[in-house]
C-alpha cells in the first residue's frame, strides 16, 4: 500500500475552458480530495465531473490556477500519484488481461519485473485472476471495467479517480464492481463520479455535488442527508438539492 501523501490532491483557483473563446467549464474552482475517504462526485450531465477528474489526473491543463498533489503541480507528479480510470476502458488488441495490466504499469516507467508482480496483485484485487490469461478484447463490459481498475491500481497511485465506473453495467456486474471498490483503500482518497447514486450510497464517506462548474455541496454523507425527510434516498436528496437550489 502506498504511503500517505504529505498534502492532498487539490484544485486551486482552477479556470478551464476547452477552447479559448468558449465559456469556462470552471472559473476559479477550489476543491480538495479528502485523504483516506471515498468521495461520491455527483452532478447533472454537463456539470463538469469528467472534466474535473481529467484536470485532477493531469490529462487537461488549467488555463489558470493549478492542480497540486503532495505540494507540487507537475504533470509528471500527477501521472505518478494519481490513478484515473476513464469511462471507456479500451482493451489492447492482442494482449491478455495480465499483459494489459502489466503494460499499464510499464508505461508509467516501472521495470518489467516490477510490472509482473504489480499486475498479479492488481488482478487479484479486482477478482480477475481466473481470467488473467484471457484476451482483453474478449471481456464483457463489467470485466473490462475491472480490468481498467486493475490497470489503474497497478500504477501504485496514491489517489484513485473513477469516472462513471458502473455506467452501463447490468446489476450483477455493477454489484461485483461495488464489491471490489469496497475492498479498496487509497491513502490519498478515492473519488467516484457516477449517476448511480443509490448504488454506491453505502460505500462512500463523502458526497460532493458539482453543478455548472461550482460545488454546491462537499461534505459527509450524513450531512448531505440532513434536512431531508428520513428514508429519502441519496438520489432523491440529490435531485431535491438541484431542484431547490440548496447550498
Amino acid at each position: 500500500m502506498p504511503a500517505p501523501l504529505e498534502s492532498p490532491l487539490r484544485a486551486e483557483g482552477v479556470v478551464f475552458r476547452y477552447r479559448r473563446w468558449s465559456p469556462p467549464v470552471f472559473d476559479g474552482l477550489d476543491w480538495t480530495v479528502s485523504q483516506g475517504c471515498t468521495t461520491l462526485l455527483l452532478g447533472p450531465n454537463g456539470a463538469g465531473k469528467s472534466t474535473l477528474l481529467k484536470l485532477l489526473a493531469g490529462l487537461e491543463r488549467p488555463r489558470a490556477g493549478r492542480v497540486t498533489v503532495n505540494g507540487t503541480s507537475g504533470r509528471s507528479d500527477l501521472f505518478e500519484l494519481v490513478g484515473w480510470m476513464p469511462q471507456d476502458v479500451r482493451p489492447i488488441r492482442g494482449l491478455t488481461v495480465q499483459e494489459q495490466v502489466e503494460y499499464g504499469a510499464w508505461v508509467t516507467g516501472a521495470s518489467r519485473r516490477d510490472c509482473r508482480s504489480r499486475a498479479r496483485t492488481a488482478i487479484e484485487a479486482v477478482d480477475l485472476t481466473d481470467l488473467s490469461s484471457r484476451r482483453a478484447g474478449e471481456l464483457s463490459g463489467g470485466q473490462l471495467r475491472r480490468l481498467g481498475l486493475a490497470q489503474t491500481l497497478a500504477r501504485r497511485a496514491h489517489v484513485l479517480l473513477l469516472d462513471e465506473p458502473t455506467a452501463g453495467l447490468d446489476p450483477a456486474q455493477s454489484a461485483l464492481f461495488r464489491e471490489v471498490l469496497r475492498g479498496l483503500t487509497m491513502p490519498g482518497g478515492i473519488v467516484v463520479s457516477t449517476h448511480q447514486v443509490d448504488e454506491l450510497a453505502d460505500d462512500v464517506d463523502r458526497v460532493a455535488v458539482l453543478d455548472a462548474g461550482r460545488f454546491r455541496f462537499d461534505g459527509a454523507v450524513t450531512d448531505f442527508r440532513e434536512g431531508h425527510p428520513e428514508g429519502l434516498s441519496l438520489a432523491a436528496a440529490f435531485a431535491a438539492m438541484l431542484g431547490r437550489g440548496e447550498h
Binding site: 493531469g58 501521472f79 479500451r90 508505461v107 508509467t108 516507467g109
Partner: protein, 406 residues
C-alpha cells in the same frame, strides 16, 4: 516479447513478407549470375511489394496507439512506447525483407558493395516502416494506411521508371547492372541519407512527446518536416555528387580481379568466375593459334574488367556456356584491336563468329546467340584457303571503327 508479436501482427505478417520476397524474383525470372551484388540487387525486386506492404502494415497496426496512450497517461516517451509494442514489425520487417533477398539470391553479401546494397535495403524497409508509423500518427487510419502504401510504392517503384537521373539515384531499386558494375556511390549514399533521415526524424518527433495529449496538426507538421527534410537531403547528395549520374545508378565494379597465368596468357577474372580460369586460358590459347596463323598479334591478357588497356575482355559469368563465352572473348579481341568497344554490325559479327569458330569447332551454343546468316558466312570464310582467310580477317580488323563519342 511474445505479446509484441501479437500486438503488432508480426507473427503472421513476417512469414507473408518472406514468402513474397522469395517468390517475386522467381516469378520475374531474375537470373542468378554468381556475382553476389548483381544477384542481391536482382532479388531486391521483392522490395517492390514488401516495402509498401510493410508501410501499410505498420500504419494499420499502430492505428489508435497514440489515442490509446493518451488515456494510459504514459510517463515513457512515444518512441519507446511504439518500439515496445511494434519492434517485431519495425526491426523484423527489414530483417525478414533482407533475409528474403539473400534466400532468393542464394548468397550473402561478400564485398563492400554487397554490404552497402544490403544496408540500403534495410534502410529502405526501415524507412517504409517509419513512414507507416508516422502517417498513422498524423492522419486518420482510413487515410494513413492507403497513403503509406501509395507513397512507399511510388518511392520504390515509380522513381526508377522516371527519366530523371537524380530521382533514379534516390530509389532503392538499384538494378539491371551486369557483372562488370556495382551500385553507384551516389545512389547508395543518397538512398541511405534519405531513409536514415526519415527514420531518425520520425523517431525524434515521437521521442519529444509522451502522447498524453496530441495535437493532430502538430504531428502532421512534424511528419511533413521529417519527410521533406529526408527528401531534401537525399536530393542534395545527388546534386552535389561529382560522379556522373546514369539511369542505372551503377558504376564500374571495383572488386579486385583474381589473376593467374596459362600458356603465357594472363587470365584475370572476377572472384566468382575464378573456377573458369583454366577453361578461359585454354580458349584464349586456341584463339591465339588462329590469330598467329592469320599473322595477327596474339592475346596476352584476358580480363573480366572492361576497358583495360592492352587486354582482351571476356564475359565469364556463371551459367554462360563455352560458346557465348568464346564469342565474348572474340569480340573483346576486336575491341582491343580497335581501342574501343566497337559496334557489332553485320560485318563485325561475322568477324567475331569466324574467330570464335576457330577456337571452338564444336560450335557449342553459338547457334543460340548469333544469326544463322552470320554463322553461315563465317563458316564459308573459314572454308577458304588459309591466305584468303587471313587477308579477309586482317582487312576486317583494320576497317574496325569506333562509334562516335556521345
Amino acid at each position: 516479447m511474445v505479446a509484441a508479436f501479437r500486438v503488432s501482427g508480426a507473427w503472421w505478417f513476417l512469414p507473408v513478407m518472406l514468402a513474397i520476397g522469395v517468390t517475386l524474383p522467381v516469378l520475374n525470372d531474375v537470373p542468378l549470375t554468381g556475382y553476389p551484388v548483381a544477384d542481391l540487387s536482382g532479388a531486391g525486386i521483392g522490395l517492390a511489394y514488401n516495402a509498401p506492404l510493410l508501410a501499410a502494415m505498420t500504419s494499420y497496426s499502430t492505428r489508435g496507439w497514440a489515442q490509446l496512450h493518451a488515456t494510459l497517461r504514459p510517463r515513457r516517451r512515444g518512441a519507446a512506447v511504439v518500439a515496445a509494442g511494434f519492434w517485431p514489425l519495425l526491426a523484423g520487417g527489414p530483417a525478414v525483407g533482407c533475409l528474403a533477398v539473400c534466400v532468393s539470391a542464394q548468397t550473402l553479401p561478400q564485398e563492400r558493395a554487397g554490404w552497402l546494397l544490403m544496408a540500403t535495403f534495410v534502410a529502405v524497409l526501415a524507412g517504409a516502416a517509419a513512414l507507416g508509423v508516422a502517417l498513422s500518427w498524423a492522419l486518420p487510419v482510413v487515410v494513413a494506411v492507403p497513403a503509406a502504401a501509395v507513397v512507399a510504392f511510388a518511392w520504390v517503384n515509380y522513381l526508377p521508371a522516371t527519366s530523371s537521373r537524380e530521382l533514379h539515384q534516390m530509389s532503392p531499386m538499384i538494378d539491371g547492372f551486369a557483372t562488370t558494375s556495382q551500385p553507384s556511390r551516389t545512389a547508395v549514399t543518397a538512398t541511405l541519407v534519405l531513409t536514415v533521415t526519415l527514420v531518425l526524424g520520425v523517431a525524434l518527433a515521437m521521442t519529444v512527446t509522451r502522447w498524453e495529449r496530441l495535437s493532430r496538426p502538430l504531428t502532421s507538421v512534424a511528419v511533413t518536416v521529417a519527410v521533406a527534410l529526408s527528401v531534401a537531403l537525399g536530393w542534395l547528395v545527388v546534386t552535389r555528387s561529382s560522379q556522373e549520374l546514369n539511369l542505372l545508378a551503377a558504376e564500374p565494379r571495383s572488386t579486385p580481379l583474381s589473376c593467374a597465368e596459362y600458356s603465357d596468357i594472363e587470365v584475370c577474372l572476377w572472384p566468382e568466375e575464378a573456377g573458369r580460369r583454366r577453361e578461359i586460358g585454354a580458349t584464349a590459347a586456341r584463339l591465339n593459334q588462329q590469330l598467329r596463323a592469320w599473322d595477327l598479334p596474339p592475346i596476352s591478357t584476358v580480363t573480366a574488367r572492361p576497358g583495360e588497356e592492352g587486354a582482351t575482355t571476356v564475359d565469364a559469368g556463371r551459367g554462360l556456356a563455352p560458346g557465348p563465352m568464346t564469342l565474348s572473348m572474340a569480340a573483346g579481341y576486336l575491341d582491343q584491336r580497335a581501342g574501343c568497344q566497337v559496334t557489332i554490325g553485320r560485318d563485325t559479327e561475322v568477324l567475331v563468329v569466324a574467330l570464335a569458330l576457330a577456337a571452338n569447332p564444336a560450335e557449342d551454343g553459338l547457334t543460340d546467340v548469333v544469326s544463322a546468316d552470320s554463322l553461315a558466312q563465317a563458316r564459308s570464310r573459314l572454308d577458304q584457303a588459309a591466305a584468303d582467310q587471313a587477308a579477309w580477317f586482317r582487312a576486317g580488323v583494320s576497317d574496325l571503327r569506333c562509334p562516335p563519342a556521345s
